[in-house]
């Protein structure tokens, strides 16, 4: 830890020149709630080609729009997990140096809640979206779409959410009912 080597003590003479403060509690301008005027731009946006939009648009919402072709099952996912994920997330997703992915159901009201895919995540589509964009941590964007489906299937099966022989694809994944689907309340927009 640091010590206060800079010192918290002040020379009186220096303080005599600190004349730029005003008193707290003095009337300030009220917070402006009026909508700021949006300045007109010079119109330099370049029309985006459809192919570019299609290539970049990787986000997958809860209704599954945009899920790619392909499929995978838990057994296929287990093989990938044991090669590429186990070092950080532990055997069967039990957690290691990084997040535990399995278990924890029934702990959310306890003093030590365990937030995992099975106990906390409200949407199965989020798992596909996140694994495809960001995992495995050292090599994101290295998995094929069927490999992502397989990993998702494996993790959902480990959490008891889908059966051992269930196949995940663009049709089945959005239909998966996550155990904590009703566990979230939106704080936005705020009650006014």
């Amino acid at each position: 830890m640091f010590t206060c080597d800079r010192g918290v003590r002040f020379a009186i003479a220096a303080l005599m020149f600190a004349g730029v403060t005003t008193m707290a509690g003095q009337a300030q301008r009220p917070a402006s709630r009026s909508r700021p005027v949006v300045p007109q731009g010079p119109g330099l946006g370049v029309p985006a080609a459809e192919a570019l939009v299609a290539a970049w648009d990787v986000s997958i919402p809860p209704d599954g729009t945009g899920l790619p072709p392909g499929s995978g099952n838990p057994a296929q996912g287990a093989q990938i997990f044991n090669t590429k994920c186990i070092a950080c997330h532990g055997p069967e997703g039990a957690g290691s140096v990084n997040d535990r992915l399995v278990g924890g159901q029934g702990t959310l009201t306890s003093a030590a809640p365990v937030r995992t895919i099975g106990s906390f995540w409200p949407y199965a589509t989020t798992l596909f979206d996140y694994v495809r964009r960001a995992m495995p941590y050292p090599q994101p964007h290295s998995l094929s779409d069927p490999e992502v489906y397989a990993l998702v299937a494996y993790l959902l099966n480990l959490n008891g959410v889908i059966a051992k022989d269930a196949v995940m694809d663009a049709k089945t994944l959005p239909r998966v009912e996550m155990p904590n689907r009703a566990g979230f309340e939106r704080a936005y927009p705020p009650r006014r």
């Binding site: 009186i12 403060t21 008193m23 909508r35 731009g41 946006g45 939009v53 959310l108 941590y137 936005y188």
Partner: protein
């Protein structure tokens, strides 16, 4: 005695003491410590006997200040994830030097050449468009002073026992810059948001493709696509070449290395708005999209981990901020919250920005507990830790903004305490 008015317990003195106009010379004389006789050499120093070093194209701070560093706290098993924290106890004023701005990355800092980078706006728009840095630099720019705070800042204070650390180690995932950028509303108007478009998926060009869903309402209110920080281009670790800046909203929504904005009808429900950055309440429900950062303050001098230099006159100095607007008032206590007195706020006070407060204090050398309590111009007041935890419980994890107390012991040691 004029200018030496005790305004609250523990030796707090009237804020006018430090103002030239009102501090009576006689009063100050009473407070003045007797300095130890100076050991300053009478020789002309070497640096006055020869010309100094020449100009240089890019400046560096004094080598004598090199100990002022961010505290780097990586996530185990990674180098690029985790946080580094602004050493608040070593800084003054309200602007955080860009080199000391806190960091929170989810997969490291990408090395982006502007020529390779585009911002794509698409989805529920009339015209999907891309913008590069050169184009954005030609748009009407605005400059504003705003803080950015990680929603996980101060999370250590949820722990049952107070962690002994400095102000920056505990609360340093907040920083404040002058940000210059293009109002996001200008770019959205050019793309033409369709009536059904209520949310934006904002995505970064880092290895995590960090992504958050943002209400269009905020984008049209005061959001910027920032391209300058404190007068120069963004630092890589702050989103170079362009980042989203959502004044007052939790740090991770201010997506760095901004690459894509997709206008949608509903949130995408990304990992960082479901599994993380949601607030688990004691009843097992999690609050989602808790965007604004609460009204907050912390005394930065003295700071936990510090050591007082003996009884006498001090200036208590600290920072206050609110995601809802301007800081209206900061009260300081030197008796553990029994009595309070208003601190002076350093002008100008910007909306959704760090605000410096200062308070005159005569420490008599006995044990005291210092604390600060901020209020903003919406009337919101910083809560006590007890009230905050009574409402939320301790697994809540994010958005900690309760009153911070530092105890000063008779031996001058400054510690983090719960009151």
């Amino acid at each position: 005695m004029p200018g030496l008015q005790v305004v609250a317990g523990g030796g707090l003195l009237h804020r006018r003491l430090f103002l030239k106009e009102s501090a009576g010379a006689a009063a100050l004389a009473l407070l003045r410590a007797t300095p130890a006789s100076a050991a300053q050499s009478q020789e002309v120093p070497g640096y006055m006997k020869a010309p100094g070093q020449g100009m240089r194209p890019y400046g560096e701070r004094s080598p004598h200040e090199s100990a002022v560093q961010r505290l780097v706290v990586p996530v185990t098993g990674t180098t690029g994830s985790g946080s580094s924290r602004t050493p608040l106890e070593h800084l003054e004023g309200i602007i955080t030097p860009s080199s000391l701005h806190f960091e929170r990355h989810h997969s490291g800092v990408p090395d982006i050449a502007p020529a390779d980078h585009r911002l794509l706006i698409h989805g529920l728009v009339e015209r999907p468009l891309t913008f590069d840095l050169a184009a954005l630099s030609r748009y009407p720019l605005v400059s504003r002073v705003h803080f950015v705070e990680c929603s996980g800042n101060s999370t250590a204070l949820y722990a049952a026992e107070p962690l002994q650390a400095t102000a920056g180690s505990l609360h340093g995932m907040v920083s404040c810059s002058e940000w210059t950028g293009v109002p996001l509303g200008t770019l959205l108007a050019e793309a033409g948001v369709q009536p059904a478009g209520r949310w934006l998926l904002a995505e970064g060009a880092d290895a995590a493709s960090m992504s958050r869903s943002i209400p269009v309402e905020k984008a049209l209110d005061d959001a910027l696509v920032a391209i300058y920080q404190n007068g120069e281009r963004l630092r890589p670790e702050n989103g170079y070449p362009m980042r989203l800046l959502l004044p007052g909203w939790e740090g991770n929504t201010n997506v760095k290395w901004l690459r894509r904005l997709k206008v949608t009808a509903e949130p995408v429900m990304t990992k960082d708005e479901t599994s993380k950055y949601t607030d688990l309440m004691p009843d097992g429900k999690a609050r989602q999209f808790t965007f604004p950062m609460g009204v907050k303050s912390v005394i930065t001098s003295p700071s936990g981990g510090g050591q007082m230099l003996g009884p006498g006159l001090y200036q208590i100095s600290g920072l206050a901020w609110s995601g809802a607007g301007r800081i209206r008032r900061v009260d300081v206590s030197a008796d553990g919250g029994k009595t309070w007195a208003p601190a002076a706020l350093s002008e100008p006070v910007h909306s959704k920005a760090l605000t410096r407060f200062r308070m005159a204090w005569r420490w008599d050398g006995g044990p005291v507990v210092l604390a600060s309590r901020a209020a903003d111009d919406t009337g919101a007041v910083q809560p006590t830790r007890r009230a905050l935890i009574a409402e939320r419980g301790t697994p809540f994890r994010y958005h900690y903004h309760a009153i911070q107390s530092w105890s000063v012991a008779g031996n001058g040691e400054v510690r983090n305490v719960y009151v």
